[in-house]
């Protein structure tokens, strides 16, 4: 066990899985970088954020494959390779780019097993960056996991800590179904304790990161970090907040959320996605449907507004859920 960043945890998971299993390969734009360049063609980037740094040098260009900028062919090639025996980890640099390759994700990879009558296995991982807060603007900042969560056949992973990032990524690589692994760019530098050895965290098991009795906060990806901050802040004022980090949005651990709400009687679901058809909407729906008689107050969501992500830092700050916004909603519910 040692302190590692979220970024280091992801790189370590990839390295350890590639050491364990030869069929694990990495494909994507600049996952090594430098191919064909005038510097001689050696590894030059290791991913745009450096998450695959060193892997090409260790495993070679046969297993860390730099592709052209060609998302449909990257994801499609990885899906076809997964269907036929490899275990590819494809990098879709920014999740926003799913728009140019969505067919290969949802009409192809997600449906193979079902439409081929249960005979297909598609051990595909698509690693992709989500999230606002960097001033990256409307096409490099979105939290588009709700759309993917809605697709039968996909699993969707949204780690919020370095520990979870490593364990969930190893699980994703060992999983026999297609997995979308959403890395929040605002968390890459965050630190936490991470075991040195490989380990897995099962999908569909939420983490209770703060125990409390007055209200349940459910957070997704970076929002779980914000929820913890609010819980710690309100503890001083005598409000006991339970925080649940869903870890995966598909499968979604409804049981843990319901159990918590039955104890606290209040729910706020916090989601960086746009409000309509968000994961927060789904959580609110589950609680309203299955824990109605336990509720002491209306279920509430804190989400981004129904707008694209603005580039201007002041507007982006308004766009994002914040601890202050979450606190206001909690205090309203406590007074309900």
């Amino acid at each position: 066990m040692s302190k590692k960043t979220y970024r280091e945890a992801i790189t370590e998971a990839l390295r350890q899985e590639m050491e364990r299993e030869e069929r694990v390969i990495i494909v994507g734009e600049d996952v090594a970088g430098g191919a064909g360049g005038s510097a001689g063609g050696g590894e030059a980037a290791g991913g745009v954020m450096g998450l695959t740094a060193g892997l090409c040098t260790q495993f070679g260009r046969e297993r860390v494959i730099d592709t052209p900028i060609t998302e449909s062919a990257i994801i499609g090639m990885a899906a076809g390779a997964a269907l036929t025996g490899l275990r590819p980890v494809a990098e879709l640099m920014f999740a926003d780019f799913i728009g140019v390759c969505l067919d290969q994700v949802y009409n192809q990879a997600a449906k193979f097993r079902y439409m081929f009558g249960g005979k297909a296995r598609t051990p595909l991982v698509v690693r992709t960056m989500i999230g606002a807060g960097m001033g990256a603007g409307p096409q490099h900042s979105q939290a588009i996991y709700p759309m993917l969560t809605a697709i039968p056949g996909l699993k969707v992973v949204v780690p919020s800590t370095p520990y979870d990032a490593k364990g969930l990524l190893i699980q994703a690589i060992r999983d026999d179904d297609p997995v979308i692994f959403c890395e929040h760019k605002g968390l890459l530098g965050s630190q936490g304790e991470v075991p040195d050895e490989p380990y897995t965290i099962p999908f569909g098991k939420a983490a209770i990161t703060r125990e409390g009795t007055d209200i349940t906060l459910v957070g997704i990806s970076r929002m779980a970090v914000l929820c913890n901050e609010v819980a710690d802040r309100l503890k001083k004022d005598g409000i006991s907040v339970e925080v649940i980090d869903v870890r995966t949005t598909s499968p979604l651990d409804a049981a843990t959320i319901l159990e918590s709400v039955k104890k606290t009687g209040r729910l706020v679901a916090v989601d960086e996605a746009n409000p309509m058809c968000s994961v927060a909407s789904e959580i609110a729906s589950i609680v309203a449907s299955d824990a109605f008689e336990y509720l002491d107050a209306p279920v509430k969501k804190v989400t981004a507004p129904h707008t694209p992500v603005p580039a201007a830092p002041n507007l982006e700050a308004l766009y994002l859920p914040t601890p202050d916004k979450i606190e206001v909603v909690i205090r309203d519910l406590m007074d309900f």
């Binding site: 062919a73 090639m77 269907l83 036929t84 067919d103 192809q108 439409m115 009558g117 249960g118 699993k155």
Partner: protein
């Protein structure tokens, strides 16, 4: 290259099987017994068979299209299982959950018919990557219509295959129509030239000529197996039916399909070639015709008699394990 008697008989049997399968489906469709949409392959048999006869089950893959029955039969998918699948029955090759446009048999290297035009080429280059990595000498063949040729996925797959030197044969079937619109209108330039622009060796052949397809495919497959990267073949093809069964074909001159069946029938062409060269006799092929007819008759009867999928199967096989 001279084919053996057995090879010729095998090729003829496959082509005849596809033709009877499709023509019978047309009859059954008109009688209202077949659910869903049907896109028939009649007229294009020599293309699927000309290349697939040279592929192996274990290491070679094909990716197919919405017009996929012929590709499946050519790659060796069980005809009775296919018919049951088209009837959406329990013992269809995909348990009735795929239907006509998603027939797949991974054990045969058949990566699926594909109802998304241009959907399969990216998957096929992935299979080629697997072949290159795990199955030395293996090759992947995506079938691509003239309509799909205009999808970005095809351009992306060709570029990627060329960049990574993947063992792929891009098998274009230009049957002159993308749905109801002519290739002469919708497909600019030439498909062969497009492939060459990616440094992919390409040739154009007459898709009604089994021997021309077979020879072009032989050279392309040899290049792929030798690690020399992708090739492309544009086969001029002749679609005897409309885009789908029920298509009134208002875009075609009144006698076009009749004329094609007279002048460009790959089965007639094959028969006259092999009898004129005294490689096979009419009686050899007549015997196959009868056997194939009986097989299709049995396949239809068994498909009609097969039970519907169990209700519970609606929920099964979405995931290997949902946890």
């Amino acid at each position: 290259m001279q084919l053996s008697r057995d090879q010729l008989l095998s090729a003829y049997r496959r082509m005849r099987t596809i033709r009877e399968f499709e023509e019978r489906l047309n009859v059954e469709f008109q009688a209202g017994t077949v659910p869903g949409f049907l896109h028939l392959y009649s007229g294009q048999e020599a293309i699927a068979v000309g290349i697939c006869e040279q592929l192996e089950d274990a290491r070679d893959y094909i990716g197919s299209t919405h017009r996929g029955h012929g590709h499946c039969i050519a790659k060796g998918v069980d005809v009775k299982g296919m018919m049951k699948e088209i009837y959406c029955k329990k013992h269809g090759v995909c348990g009735g959950k795929g239907g006509s446009m998603h027939i797949a048999d991974l054990d045969k290297g058949m990566l699926g018919a594909n109802a998304i035009v241009g959907g399969a080429p990216p998957l096929a280059i992935g299979a080629a990557l697997t072949a290159k990595t795990l199955k030395p000498g293996g090759v992947a063949v995506p079938f691509i219509g003239d309509g799909a040729a205009n999808q970005g996925t095809v351009a992306e797959a060709m570029n990627m295959a060329s960049v990574l030197k993947l063992p792929v044969v891009f098998m274009f079937e230009n049957n002159g129509y993308a749905e109801f619109t002519a290739a002469s209108y919708a497909t600019a330039g030439s498909i062969e030239a497009r492939a060459k622009a990616y440094d992919i060796p390409a040739v154009t052949v007459d898709g009604a000529d089994f021997f021309a397809v077979h020879e072009a495919a032989r050279e392309a497959i040899a290049r792929a197996r030798a690690g020399e990267g992708p090739s492309a073949i544009e086969a001029k093809a002749y679609r005897f039916w409309g885009h789908f069964q029920g298509d009134p074909q208002r875009y075609r001159a009144p006698n076009e399909t009749k004329d094609l069946r007279e002048a460009k029938d790959c089965l007639k062409h094959f028969r006259s070639r092999v009898t004129e060269a005294a490689l096979l006799e009419d009686a050899d092929m007549d015997a196959i015709d009868e056997e194939v007819l009986a097989l299709i008759e049995e396949a239809v009867a068994e498909a009609k008699a097969d039970p519907e999928p169990d209700a519970q199967s609606l929920y099964e096989d979405v995931y290997v394990a949902y946890n």
